[in-house]
Each structure stands twice: as C-alpha cells, then as structure tokens.
C-alpha cells in the first residue's frame, strides 16, 4: 500500500494522461507520415540511386514471366535505377482500384499497366503523364505501333501511354462441326443469314448434352459489334449521350435475343458453370466471337480456325479493337528515370519476349508482322485475319467512367437475353439516365 501511495505522488491525472496519449498518438502519426530522406555522403556516385515503381498485373506465373526478365535486363543496363514492381492480381478494374488507392495514399506508382477501358476516366483525373515532350526527342511514335492500338492511348491530343498488346474480335469456329452441318465455310465470307443457318444446323440434343450453334453474343462488347454493323452505337457520335435505345440498336439487340429464344445461343444457365472455351473444346459450341486470345481453345482436338465476322451487304464492316499497355503517372517525382524505364515498353526485345510468353497481338508493328510471331503454335491457321481486322476495326466509344457504363449495360442485356426475357426497348430506355451520368462524369467538377 505504501509503495502505491508513494508512487501515486507522481500519478498522472486523467486529463494529463489523455493529453499525453493524444500527444503520443499525434507524434507517432507525424513520424509515420514523414518522408525518410536518405543521407548523402561525400563519396556518393554522381547519379543517385532511384527507385521507380511499376504497378502491373500479377495474377500468376505468366505475369511474373512477362516482366521479371525485362526488369533484370534493365537494371543491369541502368544500375542507378531500381524497378520496384507492384504485382496486383486482376484486370483493368482491379489495377485501377489499386492505382487510385496508391495515389490517394500519396504513393502513386511511377509507371503502371493500363487498359483502353480506363484511359479516358484516368485522363479526366489527369493521372497519366503526357508523353508528348518525351516523344519529341525520341524515335518512338505513331509509326512504331499498330495505329488502332496507338490511338487507344491518345486522348485529347495527348499521348498517355504505349500499347502493349491489342486485340480484334473475329469469329472462331469448329471446322469439323461446320463440315458436318453441310454449310459453307465462314472463310468464304458469310452473311448473317449464313451464320444463322449454320448455327441452327449445329444445334442439337437436349439438357446437359445439348450442343449450341453459337455463344457469347450476350456479352455487351459483342452485342455492340452487331449494333455497330447496323449503324447503331452505345453513344452518339460526339460521345455525349447514350444512344443504345435507338431503333437500329434495339433491332440488333433483338436479333441476339432471337438467337437465345430459338435455342441456338447458349445461355448463362445452360453453360452450367463452364466457360465458353470449355464448351467449344468439348464440341458443344460451334462458333463464337472472340478477341485475339486463343489459349482457351488451344486444347481442342479438332480443327478450328478464325474468320471475319459475318456481314450483310448493307452492313458496315467493323469489329471491336481494344488494347492494353502502360502509362506514366503525372505525379512521379522521377520523370526522367521513369521515362528511361518506360522506353523498354516500346522496344523490340521486350515485345519479342512478350510474344514468347504468349502475348495476344503485339502492338509493335515490327513484331506483329514478323514471321516469328505469326508462326507461333497457338495461333490459328488464318491468323492473318485478326491482323487484317485492324484495317476496319474500331475501339469502343470510351467516355467518362467507361467501366461503370459496361456495368450498367451488361445487367440490362442479361435481363433481356436471360430467363426474364425483359422488353428490349423498355430495358434499354431504363438505363439511359445512368449511362449519361457516367459518360459525363468528371470528378470534382
């Protein structure tokens, strides 16, 4: 007891205790937030070491394999620059979430993987660095890359990055099923009437054994191609207003709906948890639109190939082109070093390495047209078709918060094509206001 009383002479009262706690907390927070400044010594080399962060996809070994060798080579050639990769599993959405979170935390990555879906929204937030001043004193330019892919990284006259790979959507088909169906080969140039006849002929069976003529037109990106061919679009020409509820687009959506109702198009339910690639390789789907990724159908033990999408005489010849690539953050504290690293993404050696790891269509012209790429085993016999498609393909009318537009349109299409079979016009009208809000979305303005 005495010791307690003796000790209590120096007891801290409640107010003092709380003050002390608050002060300690504040001091700790300040200390945690204070940037650590590296000490500089007299004997330091002329070029101070610089860390350049690089946010990119890191969902698996393929992702690591794509960049780790490049980083090693770069660091060996530029010993004063260390690349700090930030691996983030996922695609455009996940990378953007990570990117924005890092920037909000004051720790944005100097360089990062980017996608054409997110470029417009990020540009409105002034996230990408305009590379034009760097390009002026460089040999890299529009002629270096496939044009459609290059333009995917150009917004309002600013070059906001370099494309890495690009894709064009073509029709992938099972040659054996086509032959069995006794219809003409899509390589001969199909009209939509030919397509529907083939789809009907390839559809047979019931329940879990049923085979379907086609698939994946229910995805918004593929429905849009059908609309574009007929002259419709998601937005108006100025990309300032939603236009998917106009008659021509509604008619295109109804065509796809008709395929579902006729049972020639597999529904999400009928897929039973399997991917379209799974069903194609097991012979249960005859043909479907696919952008230039063929790894999912490579295991097929039958002959398959690609062709241009069907087109009626009155149709506009078009398809969808989308690209992924890299950008530099406008807030980087080391723009010169970041640019030094960034030039790797326009080098032939990097693209050849990526091709060796299974890149889709390399956007660097020198590599895309090379025998080395076109002779890659995973490509179909008519691989040239996907390159030719760039001559008439087009990107999505990306505007504002484009990912949110996707997320608004897809559920609407699902309810039109799904078991609900919702009214097309009413459903597409219903999302107009929200899409308009998303495309006009300019943060904090």
């Amino acid at each position: 007891m005495n010791s307690q009383i003796a000790g209590s002479r120096h007891a801290v009262n409640r107010r003092a205790f709380l003050k002390l706690s608050a002060f300690s907390l504040g001091a700790a927070s300040l200390a945690a937030c204070t940037a650590v400044v590296p000490a500089t010594g007299d004997g330091e080399a002329t070029m101070a070491p610089v860390d350049i962060s690089f946010l990119t996809q890191g969902g698996g070994d393929t992702s690591f394999l794509r960049y780790e060798p490049l980083i090693e080579t770069f660091e060996a050639e530029n010993p004063h620059i260390q690349i700090q990769p930030i691996w983030e599993p996922g695609g455009a959405i996940e990378i953007q979430i990570k990117l924005l979170t890092l920037i909000a935390a004051g720790d944005g990555p100097d360089t990062y993987w980017a996608h054409s879906y997110t470029n417009a929204g990020q540009a409105k937030r002034n996230i990408q660095m305009d590379l034009t001043p760097f390009l002026d004193s460089s040999s890299i330019g529009e002629d270096t890359f496939l044009r459609a892919a290059w333009l995917d990284f150009q917004i309002a006259g600013k070059q906001i990055g370099f494309p890495r790979e690009t894709t064009s959507t073509v029709l992938i088909y099972n040659k054996e099923l086509i032959a069995e169906a006794g219809v003409s080969d899509p390589a001969d140039g199909w009209t939509w009437t030919d397509f529907e006849a083939a789809a009907m002929a390839m559809t047979s069976g019931e329940g879990t054994e049923r085979s379907f003529g086609t698939a994946d037109w229910n995805l918004n990106r593929n429905t849009w191609i059908k609309m574009w061919q007929k002259g419709g679009d998601v937005l108006n020409a100025e990309r300032t207003a939603y236009a998917m509820n106009e008659a021509v687009s509604v008619a295109a959506v109804n065509t796809v709906k008709g395929w579902h109702e006729a049972g020639v198009h597999v529904s999400g339910v009928e897929k039973g948890g399997f991917s379209t690639g799974d069903l194609f390789t097991t012979g249960r789907i005859g043909m479907f639109p696919q952008f230039s990724v063929f790894s999912n159908v490579a295991p097929a033990e039958f002959e398959w190939d690609i062709a241009h999408l069907p087109k009626d005489d009155s149709d506009i010849e078009t398809t969808r082109v989308a690209s992924a690539g890299h950008s530099m953050w406008s807030g980087t504290e080391h723009p010169d070093e970041a640019w030094t690293w960034f030039q790797t993404f326009a080098s032939i050696s990097a693209f050849e390495h990526w091709v060796s790891t299974g890149l889709n269509i390399p956007s660097l012209k020198a590599v895309a047209g090379s025998d080395n790429y076109l002779s890659t085993a995973v490509l179909p016999p008519s691989a040239q078709v996907m390159l030719d498609a760039f001559d008439y393909g087009r990107p999505e009318p990306v505007a504002g918060d484009w990912i949110s537009v996707h997320r608004e349109v897809q559920p609407a299409l699902d309810s039109i094509y799904g078991v609900e079979a919702a009214d097309t016009q009413a459903t597409l009208d219903n999302i107009a206001d929200r899409v308009n809000e998303f495309i006009a979305f300019v943060p904090s303005v």
Binding site: I5, R125, T208, A422
Partner: protein, 323 residues
C-alpha cells in the same frame, strides 16, 4: 497541546482533525488516480484501436459525406448535396427495397427456425451434443465458402435444390437467375447459419428453472401451455437480443450478393451495402458512399430504437413487474 509542524502556534483539535482529513483525502485521491492510471493503461490498446480504427474513420466518413471527393481529386465541400442526391436516386431506393425484403421476411423466418432448432436440441438424448455441434458448425463456415457452396446447390442443372424438387415431381427453378426467386433463395441460404442464434436461444432455454415446468405440470398445463406460458415469455430477452443483432446484420447483407449474383439478375439482389460498395470502390464516389453509410446508420438506429421502445410490451425480464 501540540505545536504545528512549522513551529508556529498551537494546533487546535479542530485544525488537527482538518489536517488529518486533508491528508486522508489526498491519500485516497492519489490512490484513486493511481488505480485509474493503471486502468487506463490496461484499456489503452482498446482505446487507441477504437480511436484509430473506428471513431476516427467514422468521423472522417461523416466529414466526407459533406464533400465531393473521388480519391485522387481534391475534395470539395458540398453541404447536404450528397444526402439530397441519395434521396433522389432510384437505384438506391431499389437497393433499400431489396434489403428491406431480405430483412423483414428473412429475419423472422431465420429466428423462427433458430428457435425450432434450439427446442429440438434442448432434450436429453444420447449424442445430443453431436447434434448441437452439427447445427452450429455451418455458422462457422466462412461466408465466401458458403456462397460458393450455395451457388452449386442452386445450380439449375446440377444443383441439389432442383434435384430435391425433381424428387417430388416439381419442375426445376432458376433460383439465382430469376429476379422473382433470387431474394427468396438468399433467405433460404441464410437458414444455413441458424446455429449462432440457436446457441444463444439454447442458453436461454437452459436458464429457465425446471421448477416452473414442474409446478405447471402439477397444475395440469399441457405441453403447448408450458411452452406458451413459460418457455416463450422467459425466452423473450434472448429472442430480443437475437432479433436486434439479426436485423442489424441483415441490413448489412453483402457477401453473398457480391459473390453469387453481383446484384443481379436485373438488380434483384442489389442490396444496399453492395450498392454502397460499388459507389465507393468502383465509381470512387466517396462522398456519396459516405452519405449512404450514414443514411444506413440512421435507418438501423431508428429501427433499433423502435425495437427497444416496443420491447417493453413483449420482452419479459425475470424480476421485472409487468406494467
């Protein structure tokens, strides 16, 4: 007569008593502060955790709800604009309707089944502890694993649910694909986790003195009468607690919809919290999402207050006199 310590004038008895009283008071106060200091030190980790991870973010979100802020852009004070916007947002009202449907249909059913389960396992039977465990274990399953499991159960072609319907000659249902069935399917799914509430109700049942039942039996009360007149009234505090917790939890339903249906089909499972999440972490509208969070807080607060108010009429605490 004693002298004062300073060698001054004589110390009167009154002054001596005062001095003793002052010393005692100081000693007591010192002792009190020492104890308080120790107490504060012991609870300091919790206080810091509360301030940093709960109170701080809550206050920050309250402030953010009065701003327009998209994470990478400077925030701008907009007063009550976000609250006005959420009141005008049709999609938000739809999400609130979906949530209310889940809460007001799902919670009573959930509670009823938990009560049935508690009554069922409140008997002396060989191996009853195993049954109790079997009922309780599913509530320990992680929500994500639960969601994946139920995706398969509700699968239209290969799912157990449709297989059961097939056994009794009923046609298969599109549980998660049909907007009319998706919410009921989620409610059925919630029955999987009645174990947590069952344990609390079982504890309540165990707390009811056996003498009440013996006296009632001697008076000739039937089994139903004993349940209605003894079990249920004495179980109301446990039922009330479960009701409060279940309603608060149900208002925050998220994981299942996020994983299984992503809010579909046709927004029929777009629950309030899923919509809030999308606004915050997909559209990056932090001000709007914060306003939504505070609106939900108010809704839950109001419902909880109403329940407490109404509880006077049906919750019986042993020892209380009925008004």
């Amino acid at each position: 007569m004693r002298r004062s310590a300073a060698g001054g004038g004589p110390v009167t008895p009154r002054a001596g008593a005062m001095s003793w009283w002052m010393r005692l008071r100081t000693r007591r106060r010192s002792l009190l502060w020492a104890e308080q200091r120790d107490a504060y030190l012991f609870i300091l980790p919790w206080i810091l955790g509360f301030l940093i991870f709960l109170a701080g973010p809550m206050l920050a979100s309250l402030f953010i709800s009065f701003t327009r802020w998209e994470i990478v852009t400077p925030s701008r004070f907009v007063g009550f604009d976000q609250y006005v916007k959420i009141a005008q947002d049709d999609r938000l009202w739809l999400s609130l309707w979906n949530t209310a449907y889940y809460v007001f249909l799902g919670v009573p059913l959930h509670l009823f089944l938990a009560l049935l389960a508690a009554l069922a396992v409140n008997i002396n039977l060989r191996g009853i502890r195993l049954y109790r465990t079997l009922f309780y274990v599913p509530s320990l399953t992680p929500a994500v694993a639960n969601a994946i499991l139920w995706l398969w159960i509700f699968h239209p072609q290969w799912g157990l649910a449709n297989a059961a319907l097939d056994l009794v000659g009923l046609p298969p249902l599109f549980w998660l694909q049909d907007p009319r069935l998706a919410k009921p399917a989620f409610i059925i799914m919630s029955w999987w986790t009645i174990g947590g509430q069952m344990v609390i109700l079982l504890a309540g049942l165990k707390g009811i003195p056996a003498t009440f039942y013996e006296a009632a039996e001697m008076d000739g009360a039937s089994a139903w009468g004993r349940f209605w007149r003894i079990t249920l009234p004495l179980l109301t505090p446990a039922l009330f607690f479960n009701l409060i917790i279940a309603i608060i939890g149900a208002f925050q339903v998220f994981t299942q919809a996020f994983i299984m249906t992503e809010g579909g089909p046709n927004y029929s499972t777009l629950f309030y919290l899923l919509y809030l999440f999308r606004m915050a972490f997909e559209n990056f509208r932090m001000g709007y999402a914060s306003a939504m969070a505070w609106a939900l807080f108010l809704i839950i607060l109001i419902f909880t207050a109403i329940q407490f108010r109404v509880s006077d009429r049906w919750v019986f605490y042993e020892g209380d006199l009925r008004k």
